[in-house]
Symmetry: C2
């Protein structure tokens, strides 16, 4: 269990913040406009919503107000706005914490026939509405799996580790470190998110290039659903029919509760190093990343920031550090200030392996006119890698709203997709006379394409509904642009409720029907997280 | 199209054979017993089975006898026995060859409501009954996709290649070679099998360690089913719900016909080299392979033969070559003749990369007391890699039967699983006073476990039914041993009809129901390959 207290109406822990630099404030003012009205969390009110009557349930049942509000919402921008502005329309009627799979079964059994909806909760870090408590006539509970955490079994010969679904990233790594192993799964939500949540939402980590996405790391699962218990055995490879693990992964609670996951782990590498460089423009950047992917070099992390993000990272995010001045010198020298792109290359292993891989990478990037920035910016990035999300609330405290969205697309359409999404975001609020600033980076390249991760900024209004409306317009415009670009609606944030209307574009009508059949088979009464994935209602304002 | 003629009642092309060495004959006589009655293909008779009346169908419709018999059976041992002995109980009422997806739709539409069963046919190399024409009251056609072959589109920026489902391995590689690319998918059936068949059966290749299994290589698919057309877009990575590609891959035609596949390809490496060595025993061999997997070295192929297979490979398969004498010297030197294990290590890349990887591998294996045999045995293996299956028919010509089966299991259970399966095979025919010889190798290691591939030999009888009965007893014994070992029923051969009774052990009851629902959704009339995967009937004698 975490001893630090989770923040209400904001990311992470109460003890942590990440304040914007004066330079970032200036950049936002120039690129978005002066701040709108601040929306802080100092006079946060808990809405009084009387819990509906529930059947008697096994597990720890909590109806305390703060706990209910904390479990009412995930970590999407509008979740934060709603909690801070006291406009959350529904709370769970209880937060229920089972201690094992039998108690989960007991809870499902007790809820059968009573119309109770059950929303599984891991770390509560969904940014797609995936754990949100939506209002409705039926009672609803948040099923918090935090008591089902920890390492259950470790097979050191195979490197297979069985974890409870509520195990957080730090818990995973510290349990494995005792054996000299690592999972290597480091999403930005690593400190908060859980094994079950990762598997249920097809999570990717910052080093998934080296360790694989969670789909590659989950060897087997135990799943509990109203229809019964389902064990998917841990096997290294199989041709025994369709791979049903891939149906559970990404099901976001809709098909069942993951009560155990067997994960593929590795011996902890001696060291991880991150090399930084700048290339003159995005075209060379994308080409360089693709060349690195095709080279077969044993890298664990690759990032490419587009010119606006590079500007923010180099001259603002890194503040007045020596990297900023290095960058300035480089930019002046090249005469291409506006177009420079930052690349980070990470690799793990022995000192020799790390040196060899970085040398190989530098050779490839040199032919794209890269100028090395050494290991400094990488250390900076590694230090702050889990802190960046805190910036959102610090900006909201000052009157700016910021959110992110992500996709993946083949290399041949990557540049165009970025342009389309940027344009969609930049123009979405034009008729209100509002500007949107957009940053983009590559963080998960593949052999055939890449993720694109967008961060966008706009101004708060004095009315939370109007701010949320701005956000909804931005999301719709960007999501439609993704569909036009034949890009996926989400690379690693998941579908949740907010992306659900766009899912059928890539799953297809028959795919949606098959998923619906599977959900009906596992959960005939539609108890489990009934509004994610399959419900095509646009809930961006809820 | 292949210009060489495919053999009837045997593997591959009529022009190819692979004759056993006198040493192998001697080894079989010693380990299995003197040969039983030969079953050759010289007086092969085509059963006279009158075709049932079919609706009028688009595509090329052939009712010629040889074509019908050729499409009646795949390449399992009993398929060969049945064709050679003239005991095939059913033929397709026609072989239908559509030229595009529209014609596939036309065929499905024309068959609706008429009860016609449709068995998709790629290269016809299934060794699990996956393309077999089973007798029944309803008419049945073999849907041969050979006219839907070739490279349809190539995106050289992303390395994405769109192929027709009927494209064979050589066709894939020669089309890609024009662009300097390779798919790198080399199953033993490479010369015959097809893109659609690979995807439908979750195929693995001999270099899947480097290039990935077909699941990793298939980015997208177009599928046609009675319920309609289903496009699964080619995306490099996505968290947009469950990965439905993984439901189609492994569906073995049950959910639809793959009419197009988009594959991830790579730039062709400069060279591929295979290093060979011997380790003193299986324990060190397994440990060495696992250490190589955990090292992160960029290898594309790893094989480990158990002591019996090593004996056959070194002193028999390689005949009187210089490797055999080298091996003899090594064995004498170590005094561990019976327990030595052959390891092959393959890697691809530039000359320097190949040298580096092999050096790294040698270092790891040296600490397992490996003695290098250089690159000779690897060249030998590369030359014969697609010829080995021809040996089966050459042995049947002489009175011995041989078949293979494969599985995968975590490292911690690998040695025990091998022992269990060996024991099951060796004792299955004991009550008939018959012996079974068993060889085993690792060919597809993973980070958390490995495949195990078994080759077994037994004696023909004069009655084909009795020979098939021996085979069925061996299969049942081995399959039950796999279930006891919590190993998968198939690592890369697929489920077909023969493994179907064992599938529910790993898919689970709920998994089987979900698959059944998906099949019903795509194919409400159960037209498509209705006996594979989901039909639990034991058909080992059919």
């Amino acid at each position: 269990m975490n001893t630090k207290t989770r923040r209400l109406g904001g990311w992470g822990f109460e003890s942590e913040t990440f304040e914007p630099s004066p330079q970032l404030i200036q950049w936002l003012t120039e690129n978005v406009g002066p701040p709108g009205p601040a929306l802080g969390d100092t006079d946060l009110k808990i809405p009084k919503i009387r819990p509906q009557t529930l059947p008697s349930l096994p597990g720890e049942v909590c109806t305390e107000d703060r706990d209910r509000l904390f479990h009412a919402r995930g970590q999407g921008l509008i979740d934060i706005i709603r909690v801070r502005s006291g406009t959350v329309s529904a709370l769970p009627d209880a937060v229920v914490r089972p201690s094992d799979a039998d108690e989960v079964i007991g809870i499902l059994d007790a809820c059968k026939g009573s119309g109770v909806r059950i929303v599984p909760w891991g770390g509560g870090t969904s940014v797609t509405g995936g754990v949100n408590i939506l209002s409705g006539d039926q009672p609803i509970i948040s099923l918090d799996l935090e008591r089902m955490s920890g390492l259950i079994d470790f097979d050191s010969i195979s490197g297979l580790a069985v974890f409870g679904p509520g195990t957080t990233g730090p818990q995973v790594e510290s349990a494995l470190a005792e054996h000299g192993f690592t999972l290597g799964h480091f999403p930005q939500s690593w400190e908060l998110a859980t094994v079950g949540g990762w598997a249920a939402t097809r999570s990717s980590g910052q080093e998934s290039l080296g360790y694989g996405r969670i789909e590659d790391l989950v060897a087997g699962m135990d799943v509990v659903a109203p229809a019964g218990r389902w064990r998917l055995p841990a096997l290294p490879g199989s041709a025994a029919g369709p791979d049903l693990r891939h149906l559970v992964m990404g099901s976001e609670g809709r098909l069942g509760i993951i009560t155990e996951a067997t994960l593929r782990t590795r011996q902890k590498p001696e060291q991880t190093a991150v090399h930084a460089c700048l290339v003159p423009d995005l075209e060379r950047g994308l080409d360089g990343i693709r060349a690195l992917m095709w080279s077969g070099l044993p890298l664990c992390m690759l990032r490419l920031s587009d010119p606006p993000e590079t500007e923010v990272a180099m001259t603002i995010g890194l503040g007045a550090s020596r990297f900023a001045s290095l960058a300035q010198r480089y930019l002046r020298f090249r005469g291409i200030k506006d177009q420079a792109c930052l690349i980070l290359v990470g690799t793990s292993g022995s000192e020799l392996e790390v040196a060899d891989a970085l040398e190989g990478a530098r050779n490839i990037l040199r032919s794209r006119r890269a100028v090395s920035l050494g290991r400094g910016p990488g250390r900076h990035w590694q230090r702050d890698r889990f802190r960046h999300p805190y910036l959102r609330e610090a900006l909201m405290d000052r009157g700016w709203a910021t959110d992110t969205l992500e996709t993946a697309v083949p290399w041949s359409r990557a540049a165009l997709c970025r342009t389309e999404v940027r344009r969609a975001l930049e123009t979405a609020l034009e008729d209100e006379g509002e500007r949107t600033a957009v940053l983009c980076h590559v963080s998960h390249p593949y052999i055939d394409g890449t993720s694109l991760y967008f961060t966008f900024f706009f101004r708060n209004t004095s009315d939370p509904e109007a701010t949320i409306k701005r956000w909804a317009r931005l999301k719709r415009a960007a999501s439609d642009a993704l569909v036009r670009s034949e890009a996926t609606i989400t690379h690693h944030h998941g579908v949740g409720v907010w992306h659900a209307p766009w899912l059928r574009n890539e799953a297809g009508e028959l795919g949606m029907k098959i998923l619906g059949d599977a959900a009906l088979r596992m959960d005939p009464e539609r108890m489990l997280n009934p509004h994610v994935l399959l419900d095509p209602t646009d809930r961006l304002m809820e």
